[in-house]
């Protein structure tokens, strides 16, 4: 990515990004732009450069921030009504780390409200359109971030991935999207969805930029007790020999274009001398049911904090304290938020806890073991990200189960806590982007990005 220096000013980089953001206004990528602050910060960086002072590794680089990252600049709405008035008094750890290196946030990107969705149609502010086709979805939940990078508005954008929310929109728009090993990047200051699977990651146009962002943002944070000690910057290189493909995923439910794209990459890897190993992972077909039990359970708990009192939206129709809670929540959440909260309360309620919640946590153990066994046989696994390329706006939004089925190949990764990178893999005949994902064992993130570079050569 282009970094400000003696020849390129931060102001010109930021101005260019803002101009492009406005040019694509009809795509509805941004919830809000951060024009004034961004230009001020750019001027400060240019002054430093002119004086010969040291600047960061991302000096003057404009970026887009998913609307669920807390930042003192603008409101953090999580694309919801209930947080629409919320102006954060703190910065999330990721924002802090990026800005310490000189990155400049030019705007907040649209998402499914509270990251609940796979299309960015569940946003309170309306859907984002696909980078290549105005009649199709951007994917979700980080749809705005994916499109912002795909259209070259910014060289990188932040995302969160609880069950595919970075990788699926990355593949729908033809960019790189990385979900690291669980706990690699601090979740502090990010609107919580499901704490046991939430991961912070990025969208970029290439693997080098992704590696740089990981070098900057990985590491332990005393504000997020689940963060791992920084293994990323300490990783030793490992030779890659064997690549797995999951035969259980090879079926008619996967779009032909995606199956062909996978076959093409497999052929390319064979020619490069890698051994391709067929894996059987029979528990993965249950991962989606497991996910839609565990995640709503955690959602119902995490979203109980929105009470209409301490911060955020408060209903004007409430007459007493009880109504402040129930009316603010009912008016402030979108339908999909409510469905997930209610399903969460269902699977956690007495009488159903053992049959759903506990059962799902046991199934998660089996999924984790299946990945462990797989990574004893292969170095990485190559699979589709989702069964279909970008679908049409409105096609699935009123049928929750058909929308959930789009996540069938992305959620097992989150349940197991392993890293996965969505990589572009050509297009359909009509030009719709296709994507595949490279899945690795825990803490293999750095080497995984290095390996992905080899696939970059196959255009």
């Amino acid at each position: 990515m282009k970094i400000a220096d003696k020849n390129t000013s931060a102001v010109s980089l930021v101005k260019e990004a803002l101009e492009k953001a406005k040019k694509y206004e009809d795509k509805h990528i941004f919830v809000s732009l951060n024009e004034e602050n961004a230009l001020k910060k750019a001027e400060e960086i240019d002054k430093k450069i002119a004086k010969g002072e040291k600047v960061g590794r991302l000096a003057g680089v404009p970026y887009a921030l998913k609307d669920n990252f807390l930042s003192k600049e603008g409101n953090t709405t999580a694309s919801s009504l209930i947080l629409e008035p919320f102006h954060s008094p703190i910065d999330s750890t990721t924002v802090k780390k990026l800005e310490e290196e000189g990155a400049i946030m030019i705007g907040r990107t649209n998402m499914d409200s509270f990251a609940h969705g796979s299309s960015t149609e569940n946003s309170y502010f309306g859907p984002t359109k696909n980078a290549k086709d105005d009649e199709r979805v951007a994917g979700g939940s980080s749809g705005g971030s994916a499109v912002a990078v795909a259209l070259d508005i910014v060289p990188f954008a932040t995302g969160t991935d609880t069950g595919g929310s970075i990788r699926q929109p990355a593949s729908f728009n033809g960019v790189y999207g990385f979900k690291p090993t669980y706990g690699t990047i601090s979740r502090y200051g990010v609107v919580a969805m499901a704490s046991s699977t939430d991961c912070i990651g990025f969208f970029t146009k290439n693997t080098e930029d992704m590696n740089l962002l990981m070098e900057i943002c990985a590491g332990q944070d005393s504000n997020d007790m689940t963060t791992l000690p920084d293994y990323y910057n300490e990783t030793e290189e490992k030779e890659v020999k064997k690549i797995g493909i999951i035969k259980d995923f090879d079926n008619d439910k996967v779009d032909e274009n995606i199956r062909n794209a996978l076959a093409k990459k497999v052929e390319f890897l064979k020619q490069k001398g890698y051994e391709i190993v067929e894996l059987s992972m029979p528990t993965l077909k249950y991962a989606l049911a497991v996910y839609y039990i565990i995640v709503p359970a955690e959602v119902s708990s995490n979203l109980s904090r929105h009470d209409g009192i301490r911060y955020g939206y408060r209903s004007d129709n409430a007459k007493d304290l009880g109504e402040i809670f129930s009316k603010s929540r009912n008016e402030g959440f979108m339908s999909e938020n409510k469905r997930r909260i209610m399903i969460g309360n269902f699977v956690l309620s007495s009488g159903f806890y053992d049959a759903y919640y506990l059962k799902a946590q046991k199934a998660r153990t089996k999924i984790i073991e299946e990945y462990k066994n797989a990574f004893e046989k292969v170095d990485y696994i190559l699979t589709p990200v989702s069964p279909n390329p970008a679908f049409r706006l409105g096609e699935k939004v009123n049928d929750p189960v058909s929308m959930y089925l789009e996540d069938v190949m992305s959620v097992p990764i989150n349940l197991a806590g392993v890293p996965s990178l969505a990589v572009p893999a050509g297009t359909t005949e009509t030009g719709l982007p296709l994507g595949l994902q490279i899945v690795g064992p825990r803490r293999s993130d750095k080497n995984l990005l290095k390996f992905a570079k080899i696939l970059e050569e196959d255009k």
Partner: protein, 95 residues
């Protein structure tokens, strides 16, 4: 599994949503479909398998009980609420 109207009312109550009759009706079908889908998990044999709540099996990570410097001030936090008085958040009368 059939979801009755009273079940949905109970879940709406647990979730603290004051829903209209129309909303309750439209949610019933969705919730029934979702629950029917997640019930497919019953097929999977999990006898003798331990549950995993945290993927790195981390448990109770403690820190010293010391006051850390806080980035947000009391004023910052009170500014987020709709009504406040004398450093307290104001809500309608409870009793």
């Amino acid at each position: 599994m059939k979801i009755k109207r009273e079940d949905i009312l109970h879940l709406a109550d647990l979730s603290n949503f004051s829903m209209s009759d129309k909303e309750i009706d439209s949610l019933g079908n969705d919730l029934e479909n979702i629950i029917s889908y997640i019930s497919e998990l019953n097929e999977l044999d999990t006898d003798g398998v331990e549950p995993t709540y945290q993927v790195f099996e981390m448990e109770n990570i403690w820190r010293d009980d010391e006051i850390k410097e806080q980035e947000a001030t009391r004023e910052d936090l009170l500014a987020l609420t709709k009504e406040s008085e004398e450093n307290q958040i104001k809500v309608p009368k409870v009793l």
